[in-house]
């Protein structure tokens, strides 16, 4: 049984809104689905938007952009990182 928290749902909704993923619903994004490449098909500009989203919504400033590759692998990874580092 996959663990689905409010944060997971909130993240999916924010990503859909922030990245203009038209015609996509929260239920269309799997928690362990890759966000880049074959999964949601996000690109490098989307990655920058996700960095902004982390700072704006959760007060996390990503100083090393290389870390993004790991953090933005999936909704699960993002949620874990946010839980461990959020300041708001």
């Amino acid at each position: 049984m996959p663990i689905m928290t409010d944060l997971h749902t909130e993240l999916k909704a924010s990503i859909i809104e922030q990245l203009n993923l038209e015609d996509m619903e929260v239920s269309d994004i799997e928690n362990d689905e890759p966000l880049f490449g074959d999964g949601l098909g996000l690109d490098s500009i989307d990655a920058l938007e996700l960095i902004v989203l982390l700072e704006k919504d959760y007060g996390i400033k990503l100083t090393d952009p290389k870390k993004g590759r790991e953090i933005f692998e999936s909704i699960n990874k993002m949620a874990d990182f946010i839980e461990a580092n959020r300041t708001k």
């Binding site: 203009n20 993923l21 038209e22 015609d23 500009i45 938007e49 704006k56």
Partner: protein, 199 residues
């Protein structure tokens, strides 16, 4: 004298899309809904469309309509575009975002020629492209520049456009030119298509 003919043209203005003189789509919705509905009308799957700024969306829709008529799209199709508002709408949106968190996805559209990249990616074009900022629609400039590109073998077709977006008002005229030894495009013909009212 030039060596060009107009293969197809599209006009997008006041909630209407006109192709070669015929109204093919009409909507009285605001610009955001109009663009969405017009994209749906194209009946294609291209998720990137929804991430584009409005200027790129207009250019994408217009070029998609004209290129659809082509049996085969040549990668040597050049793009010669113009307008008088540059990318002002996106510049203003980006400026607004700077007050809080500058948006990378808005920033990438703060140049008018970004739409040329979007169209080139969509159709796999690898030819010349240019975006002129002019006071008003200048048919002569677009015709002369296209003729020069074809005469000098830099391109075998040219997508020409007036692609203007000022606040929520859009004014688009796009046509595909190719080499012709029989016909000749005149400034008057192009101007007449641009100025006409289509009901």
């Amino acid at each position: 004298m030039n060596n060009l003919s107009v293969d197809h043209w599209v006009r997008i203005k006041d909630g209407k899309i006109i192709v070669d003189g015929e109204v093919v789509f009409a909507s009285e919705a605001d610009i955001a809904s109009f663009l969405k509905a017009a994209f749906k009308f194209l009946n294609i799957k291209y998720p990137k469309f929804h991430k584009m700024d409005r200027l790129s969306k207009l250019g994408f829709i217009a070029s998609e309509i004209v290129m659809k008529e082509e049996a085969e799209i040549s990668e040597d199709t050049a793009l010669v575009f113009s307008n008088n508002s540059s990318s002002l709408a996106s510049d203003q949106n980006y400026q607004e975002s700077i007050k809080n968190f500058p948006s990378p996805s808005l920033f990438v559209y703060t140049l008018p020629n970004i739409v040329l990249g979007e169209i080139s990616i969509r159709f796999g074009l690898k030819s010349e492209n240019v975006f002129f900022i002019e006071d008003e629609f200048n048919a002569k400039l677009l015709i002369d520049y296209s003729a020069q590109l074809i005469e000098s073998a830099k391109a075998n077709k040219v997508l020409c456009a007036w692609l203007n977006l000022h606040n929520v008002e859009y004014d688009v005229f796009l046509w595909l030119s190719s080499e012709s030894h029989k016909k000749e495009i005149t400034e008057e013909q192009i101007r007449k298509i641009y100025d006409a009212d289509y009901d």
